[in-house]
């Protein structure tokens, strides 16, 4: 290891980064720390504020680095923390014979340059690693009165937000009634402008999450054929009505609060007594990365519980600004790992956080969930809708079937041995090879109109379809 604290101090963009990095040097923040001396590399996974861990790799030779976090500081606190651990506790790194694929990807892409000067740059004098290390210990002790004042202010803010959101939902109700009066045909045609306007109002009135959802309605409608759009508009607006009603009935319900205004922080979820915890083997089914109209990119990683007797799913959901550029994925489809997941409290918990990761698991076929006995492939969807009718995308594990095409070239999933049975239309173009494969089980998201394929098991093994 060729790190000393002086180098880290020189590389750090500012004092704040150093202070933040010092808090991340605890071993518990790093489920994985590995090194390969032959390649002069150290890498690790740091559990940051997102659902997915951040992946950090540092070239100890020329101090090149890469982190998957969306920070605009270079190097970010995770990179600094990894270097810091390498400097102070090199024994924390397990020796690895070969580097993982994401490290190889980075190595393949990067251009080796001559080692950058690790000398202090302008403003470096203002940074001190000793100060950063001290910050942790010198946390100010607040007096009781100050704590009370802070809590009172928090309560007031919560009450203000609740009132603002309540007013926002009144406005939303009126807007929906207006759309019905003016006709859904006009709504479908002008959905882009109309949704943008009401979404902007909702943001002003602190119903941020709901605004984001309404902003996405136009693109969801446009993904369908024109004759399907009115039905889809009924579904989208009807679900908004249900969500607004549910929130009014229980404004403090964490699930509804998350869907209407803002989400809990990672720490709040981990501390919540209502949050279900599941320790199991998980397989990454696939990822969905979508650019949203509000300038954020939503990155969802869908997981399948491999120890459960019925199909159980989890989704790790992160948002980051589109301006941060393309992020490397934290997991690759097909990865399997042993982990304890904490689910955000909900009627049908799906969104989760990785609380603790124990290690990787060998790949193989999915467990037999006795899917062949399922009469209705959409039964899972119906059960989600019964519990939480505002959910739009439900994960499903479909029984044995195949992909067929219609005259327009659209792909349809259909259950095996049931040519007269129901068929589900597939979103997007279908890989032609898939049309010749029998699918023993298919994982997909169903949004009421289209099936978004994630992965499948077939005679040719696991198929990555996301």
């Amino acid at each position: 290891m060729e790190f000393d604290l002086k180098t880290i101090e020189a590389l750090a963009p500012d004092q704040a980064s150093l202070s933040a990095a010092s808090k991340l040097t605890k071993r518990s923040n790093w489920p994985r720390l590995e090194r390969n001396e032959q390649q002069a590399l150290i890498w690790g996974e740091c559990q940051g504020s997102g659902s997915n861990p951040y992946r950090v790799v540092v070239d100890t030779g020329d101090h090149g680095y890469k982190c998957t976090c969306p920070s605009r500081k270079f190097p970010c606190k995770h990179t600094l923390a990894l270097m810091w651990i390498a400097a102070t506790a090199p024994a924390s790194f397990a020796a690895a014979e070969s580097s993982p694929e994401w490290v190889n990807d980075w190595l393949g892409r990067r251009r080796k340059t001559t080692p950058p000067p690790a000398q202090p740059i302008a403003g470096a004098a203002a940074k001190s690693i000793d100060d950063a290390a001290r910050t942790d210990e010198s946390a100010a002790v607040e007096d009781v009165a100050a704590v009370e004042r802070r809590e009172a202010a928090q309560r007031k803010r919560a009450e203000d937000t609740r009132q603002a959101v309540s007013a926002a939902l009144d406005e939303l109700d009126q807007w929906i009634a207006d759309q019905l009066r003016l006709g859904l045909s006009g709504f479908v045609d002008g959905s882009s402008d109309r949704c943008r306007r009401i979404a902007a109002r909702l943001v002003d009135m602190k119903a941020t999450a709901l605004a984001g959802r309404i902003d996405e309605i136009p693109s969801r409608l446009m993904a369908l054929r024109s004759e399907e759009r009115p039905d889809a508009a009924i579904r989208e607006l009807g679900k908004l009505v249900l969500l607004a009603k549910a929130w009014r009935a229980a404004p403090d319900d964490p699930e509804l609060k998350r869907l209407v205004s803002t989400s809990e922080t990672r720490e709040q979820v981990l501390a919540s007594p209502d949050a279900r915890q599941v320790e199991s083997f998980w397989e990454v089914l696939g990822e969905k990365i979508e650019s949203r109209r509000d300038g954020l990119v939503s990155h969802s990683t869908w997981l399948l519980d491999l120890k459960s007797t019925t199909p159980q799913f989890a989704v790790l959901l992160d948002y980051f600004p589109a301006s941060a550029g393309r992020r490397s994925n934290a997991f690759a489809p097909g990865d399997r790992f042993d982990a304890r997941l904490v689910f955000y409290p909900a009627r049908k918990p799906l969104r989760a956080l990785v609380a603790e990761r124990m290690g990787d698991v060998m790949s193989g076929a999915w467990p037999d969930f006795s899917l062949g006995a399922t009469k209705d492939p959409l039964a899972g969807h119906a059960s989600y809708q019964d519990a939480a009718p505002w959910i739009t995308d439900c994960p499903l594990l479909l029984p044995p079937g195949a992909i067929l095409v219609d005259d327009r070239g659209t792909g349809w999933w259909q259950a095996a041995g049931d040519p007269q049975g129901i068929a589900l239309p597939i979103a997007g173009a279908v890989n032609q090879t898939l049309l010749g494969l029998d699918l023993a089980a298919t994982a997909a998201l169903w949004d009421g109109a289209r099936l978004d394929l994630l992965a499948a098991q077939s005679g040719f093994g696991r198929l990555d379809l996301s």
């Binding site: 390649q39 393949g108 009634a177 009807g238 009505v241």
Partner: protein, 469 residues
């Protein structure tokens, strides 16, 4: 209710009684919202998408004769395929894997219906693709004059190429019977297939094509005839005879003291216009006609050609031999070049017509010389996985690669990347593993994408030895 909402207006009176009970007793706006919520839920849960009656299933993808590449090696394979810039290089990766006894996962790579270069083991998939692209083609059916029109051109070409390999005469008769009815482009493609299993029995048909409407077809037939040693044109020696015109660009001399023998040297050219004309003539004339102008056989003419006197003329004659020379002429020239111990650049031009032993000799020659190391990328149709470490380390290729990798010249490094990719295909697993170590020691990042094929090659052997034990 749906239609009413689409056009705009109140739907309460149209709602089912049960819905009215839930939605009633509120303001008109609220009633509509409640009905909308119920309708949304009904659409989501109670209704199912109606499947069109015309859903079609494709036949199941056939299993291939070799086992699938182990899951563990698929990331390496995908990296190698991703780095392979074009279809030819991708096919090389596929060939390498097949040479080690594995086939690829169909979601990683599929041959296209008109594929003629991928390993034979993929034939069932190519047929499957052809049946997907051309519904009229029944995979088991043999192409005949009667069902000719039921095949799409691509499927027909595949069937004909296969037939040329197994029953060349029947295939020729089919082309003879059907080609005249096809447009010039298709006709050209059909006649082109005659190169598979070309034999003297094809000569009468090829001669009959000298009256074809298309100039390109006439030219192609002439070249194929020339390969059979047949003169394509009458040797009248008149001013219109291109072979005579070309012969004027070549001067005949004598050499040797005791046994005087003929030598042929390209004449000195006076202008770029002459150079251009000479190039055109080399393109259009056949070797057999040119040799006849000097009353020599093709091998005699090649044997007496003075290589090295004019590099451009050397390239032109090598192209001519590759295009129209008989098999004997091609091997004669290849052997002469090897015996001379040089000119791999010319040798490369002959590769499409060489047998595998001579192709290997060519690769060894290129690696030994190292002056034309890039020529290795042009060599086509070579076997996978045979290049030993000695072949690489005996010459100056390894040193050249090491210095290119260690240097700062971007163009040189890109050149080295291409060569490493090609060697990745040619090398044995041991050679591949050693070469990775060498270039990494020279400064290449261990995970560089250009090492992808080499890594796959080395890993394939590791896997094999692991399963053997």
């Amino acid at each position: 209710m749906r239609d009413c909402w689409i056009t705009g207006g109140a739907t309460f009176d149209l709602a089912p009684t049960a819905w009215k009970t839930i939605a009633g007793g509120a303001s008109p706006d609220e009633q509509e919202r409640r009905l909308l919520a119920i309708a949304a839920q009904a659409l989501d849960v109670a209704l199912r998408p109606a499947a069109p009656k015309t859903l079609r299933r494709r036949p199941p993808l056939p299993r291939l004769a070799l086992p699938m590449l182990p899951e563990r090696l698929r990331p390496l394979l995908r990296a190698a395929l991703k780095h392979a810039a074009d279809a030819r290089r991708k096919t090389r990766v596929v060939t390498l894997v097949a040479s080690r006894g594995f086939v690829l996962h169909p979601m990683d790579w599929m041959p296209i219906a008109s594929d003629q270069n991928s390993p034979d083991v993929y034939a069932p998939w190519i047929d499957w693709q052809a049946s997907v692209d051309g519904e009229r083609h029944a995979p088991q059916e043999k192409l005949t004059a009667e069902n000719w029109d039921e095949f799409y051109p691509a499927a027909r070409r595949i069937a004909l190429a296969d037939m040329r390999r197994s029953e060349p005469a029947s295939a020729r008769m089919l082309v003879e019977a059907k080609a005249s009815g096809e447009p010039a482009e298709v006709r050209l493609a059909l006649v082109e297939l005659m190169r598979f299993g070309l034999n003297p029995e094809d000569a009468p048909f090829l001669k009959s094509l000298s009256a074809d409407r298309s100039g390109k077809v006439r030219e192609l037939a002439g070249r194929l005839l020339a390969r059979l040693g047949e003169h394509g044109r009458s040797n009248d020696g008149g001013p219109g005879d291109p072979a005579a015109e070309l012969a004027a660009f070549i001067s005949e001399g004598k050499s040797g003291f005791i046994r005087r023998r003929s030598i042929y040297t390209p004449a000195k050219l006076k202008s770029p216009a002459q150079e251009k004309r000479r190039a055109e003539l080399f393109e259009t004339c056949n070797l057999v006609d040119l040799a006849a102008r000097f009353s020599a056989t093709e091998p005699e003419f090649i044997g007496a050609w003075q290589f090295g006197a004019d590099n451009n003329a050397d390239i032109l004659i090598a192209r001519m031999v590759a295009a129209s020379g008989s098999d004997v002429a091609v091997t004669h020239m290849a052997d002469a070049l090897v015996a001379d111990g040089g000119k791999p650049a010319l040798f490369v031009l002959l590769t499409p017509r060489l047998d595998s032993r001579r192709k290997r000799a060519l690769v060894r020659l290129i690696l030994k010389e190292a002056n034309y190391l890039n020529a290795i990328n042009l060599a086509e149709g070579i076997d996978a996985g045979w290049l030993e470490w000695d072949d690489l380390s005996n010459g100056s290729a390894l040193a050249a690669l090491r210095s290119a990798v260690a240097g700062n010249d971007d163009a040189m490094r890109r050149g080295a990347d291409d060569i490493l990719e090609t060697i990745g295909f040619l090398a044995t697993a041991t050679t591949a593993a050693k070469l990775i170590d060498e270039v990494v020691a020279a400064g290449m990042p261990p995970a560089a994408p250009s090492l992808g094929v080499l890594r796959l090659n080395a890993a394939l052997a590791e896997y094999q030895s692991r399963t053997d034990t």
